[in-house]
Symmetry: C2
Subunit: 324 residues, 2 copies
């Protein structure tokens, strides 16, 4: 099995090798800018690590891995415009730095570029990989639409929220892993299992994200905690708190969370104290732990030697701050 | 060969058979709405007619034909938002009827749906069809970007304009035809020729569109003439007039065309009289005729029996108001 660092350097090299046209500059400059922002390259890593874990040829998975990252970055371009987010990874978002029409069009182009990269998958796997890729793209759009719907609703349930983050976040991680497995020629049952592993870690990651946004430290998390509270975002913590609080605290939470008038520190402080009262941090950690344990048990059910599952599982454990 | 009406009814049926999910309604209602607006279904027709002309099995071309129309409608959703166009085919555009984020996301979803339809192409053709489809998608985005760039520029040349409409409009018609040919298993040379035919009629169609916007009758064209002049759009007629006018008329044209203050009738009238002075209508008709003759000669070079080329050529002739 290849070590994590080796897989990461293959991904970096593949992005350097990606030859984008220069003209029209207004279209390709924003694409280059977006790809150069970097990020963890989590999804290509999952594709390569899964392919390697199932004994496939890593080289076969490089183009689809790049495709998935192109697709992911395309969704970020459009999401940032839809959410009117001025910054991403500390730099101006495309619609801010250029303009909204360029963000739309550069995104569309990236999706088409991604589909062309997918077509470079080895012949045996290309059709099923391409279909899974585009099915997943549809699901990610559905997830984003649900997320936008939830902004307007006050009766979102926890199962609805979990379904939304499954679509918006988890299916792309799951598809990355399954694509690696399919390319490696893994048995269908194993490919399905690694997809389910991806769903579980994907939902776990998002719950962790929700948690860190309230309880994370600024040094470690890279951004000031409380952003979701200030934006009134209906996260797992908020929905769970609504469910567990008594009637009085629930109405206080609803009114404070939805308020745009309170000073930032006061709003964050009040919500946190309402969260603390019902131990929302512990509850969320327990939930994340359940998703993680489920993921680990899925991988163990594959009955692969420890050395073979280590890079993938080790990497995910590190991200989840978990042992396995 | 199947008659035009038969091909059109196959396309209508295929759209009726397209099973879209219902949920989330905010995503799929706009997609249904867009597809139900109808339109000529020119691109699917070209794909089917080309497949039939080259002796292919029409059934093999239905899914890709639908894919192309899905893609085309996706670009309309995004273009209408970028151009802030309130109406399309006499009905509210999606971003107006719903909102901009829904127009973005419904469009993205349609592109993914289109790619899944493409994958239903027969096994022998699917990879080359899919690659051509996504390459074409990239080119269409490039064309739209050039179009937006031209709005900000005052030195657009006619070759640049032709290149823009080649990308924005003609390549998708050309790809529709080539996809039909590839599915029919036509020789590579013939597939390339029918692509070139598509480029020629595509550019011709767009020039005709530019012409009718100034000289068309409202009854026949379906909209009030003069829209491009009022919007100050750099069309073929405008660019050609700049090239052919003397210095005095050129500066008058530039200043009137760019003015947002003149009453509509006065602006249209003045520009038309400047156009008339250098016989821009005749010049444009001659140019369109050259593209049409080139297209016809390409089809004849295929050496197919007259009965075999009739549906495709007859349909295009009707659209171009031309004999062949």
């Amino acid at each position: 099995m290849l070590p994590i660092e080796k897989l990461q350097s293959i991904i970096q090299q593949a992005f350097r090798d990606l030859a984008l046209p220069d003209h029209p500059a207004e279209l390709y400059d924003p694409i280059r800018y977006t790809l150069e922002l970097g990020g963890k390259r989590l999804r290509p890593f999952l594709a390569l690590a899964s392919c390697d874990m199932f004994g496939g040829n890593i080289g076969d998975a490089v183009h689809p891995a790049i495709a998935i990252e192109l697709f992911h970055n395309f969704t970020l371009l459009h999401d940032d415009l839809m959410d009117q987010a001025p910054l991403r990874r500390g730099r101006e978002t495309v619609y801010k730095k250029w303009n909204p029409t360029i963000a739309i069009l550069a995104g569309d182009t990236m999706f088409a570029l991604a589909n062309r990269e997918i077509l470079k998958t080895n012949k045996e796997a290309v059709l099923s990989v391409s279909d899974l890729f585009n099915l997943t793209a549809i699901e990610v759009c559905e997830g984003q639409q649900l997320d936008m719907n939830f902004e307007q609703r006050n009766d979102v349930t926890i199962p609805e929220y979990i379904e939304m983050i499954r679509l918006k976040t988890a299916v792309l991680l799951a598809a990355s892993l399954k694509i690696g497995a399919v390319i490696a020629g893994a048995p269908e049952e194993s490919a399905r299992a690694i997809y389910d592993f991806g769903i579980s870690i994907g939902i776990g990651f998002q719950l962790m994200d929700d948690l860190l946004d309230v309880y994370g430290s600024e040094e470690k998390f890279g951004k000031k905690p409380g952003g979701d509270i200030l934006a009134g975002k209906k996260t797992y913590l908020y929905l769970k708190a609504l469910q567990l609080s008594d009637q009085l605290d629930r109405s206080r939470l609803v009114s404070v969370y939805g308020s745009g008038k309170l000073p930032a520190d006061e709003k964050i402080g009040t919500v946190r104290s309402l969260f603390d009262r019902i131990h929302i941090e512990d509850i969320t950690r327990t939930e994340i732990d359940a998703y993680w344990k489920n993921a680990v048990s899925i991988v163990h059910s594959l009955n692969l030697p420890e050395s073979q599952v280590q890079p993938l599982l080790g990497y995910c454990a590190r991200l989840m701050e978990r042992d396995y």
